[in-house]
Symmetry: C2
């Protein structure tokens, strides 16, 4: 921040749900005066959940201190919850950041790094009931703010979250300009973006399958981090 | 398609507006039985408009024949409109494709490749009035279909477009499942995603600046392609 720019660091882990990162990145890249950093454990391209790789712009060792630290989600997040280097990167960066945020299941990496204890937070609907494992207070909403912590719901919520952060930081007029530039006037083809649009019994089955797949990794992460 | 999979080829050009590609890619990657290919001129990582690079999964020489050929947009599209190899790739792939599509200003690459002559199409609002230069009939709408050609408006429209294509190909139920998985229940913070939300005089100034910046490259592309 020595030059007055706002440094936004997004954490890139293998098997990230790439839209968790790329949606907000499109907004962040258009913040006047912002410097967007994509930080990964190593300098090599990182494979996403969509079969193509993204090249980080910094490593955990070379990334500058973030003003905004944003953690995208995805199945891959659950694989790094016991990875000390990744968790430490988030923890140490968060100490100096003005805003700490997550998209989707990125919340669990924030949580294992100790950043959600007693904090109201959201995540992907399928993992919402796992949030108490990291000390968070589940708060089903598209974007949730609690102090300096901002969390987004599943995947596409990251776009809404980034625009909201832009409005906070730069004012509504700048955020509106960015929204116009990316023509964000969504017309989802169906009423199907929320579990409320589906039969509860179906959703419950899916929630349990997701929880069964992920719970042990969250618990292991919390033990490793303790 | 020899194994029955649907091959979806997305064209990656330098300085792509990355969300034009990554938004729909998140949907395409979840199509049951789809094979998503990110094709670029060379195998090396391609820099996006957001300061990070994406690694293509195929080159124009190695990409399989597309069932769906999708061209994302961005300022970089205007730089390749006279690049014979890129235009030829689109033209030749389109011959064998069931569906030919674009997001945002990707429409101009389709157009220079001869695919929009007399076709109803949309693009980013800022470049809508340039569409007749490539023979297209400007049709301001978020997603426009005309025969096998589908075009999306600016940037984020690609998500809506990809979900609509999923519904066409796989049925509404599958598309609804994908929409739920990416929790696409958007809550844009402002009414600012369309030029209609801004004073017409302001928008007109911006349209002219965009047109001035891009017109010559579209015209040069059409001459080179003739």
């Amino acid at each position: 921040m020595s030059d007055g720019a706002t440094t936004i660091v997004m954490v890139l882990v293998p098997q990230v749900t790439q839209l968790d990162l790329t949606g907000p990145a499109q907004v962040f890249a258009r913040w006047p005066g912002a410097h967007l950093v994509i930080a990964a454990a190593r300098a090599e391209p990182v494979m996403t959940d969509c079969g193509f790789a993204i090249v980080p712009t910094a490593t955990f060792d070379t990334a500058p201190q973030a003003d905004y630290l944003i953690v995208p989600g995805g199945e891959g997040v659950f694989d790094v919850l016991s990875d000390r280097r990744t968790v430490d990167f988030v923890r140490v960066q968060a100490r100096g950041a003005r805003v700490v945020g997550s998209v989707c299941t990125g919340a669990f990496l924030l949580g294992v790094a100790g950043l959600l204890d007693g904090v109201r937070a959201t995540t992907h609907w399928g993992s919402m009931r796992l949030l108490p494992l990291v000390g968070a207070v589940p708060t089903p909403s598209r974007v949730v703010r609690d102090g300096r912590v901002v969390t987004g719901g599943g995947v596409t919520s990251g776009i809404d979250m980034a625009l909201a952060l832009a409005a906070d930081a730069l004012g509504e007029q700048v955020a509106r300009e960015i929204q116009l530039a990316i023509e964000y006037d969504p017309e989802p083809p169906f009423d199907a973006g929320s579990p409320d649009a589906f039969p509860e019994a179906e959703i419950e089955l899916r929630r349990r399958a997701i929880e069964d797949r992920r719970r042990a990794r969250v618990e292991a992460g919390m033990r490793a981090s303790a």
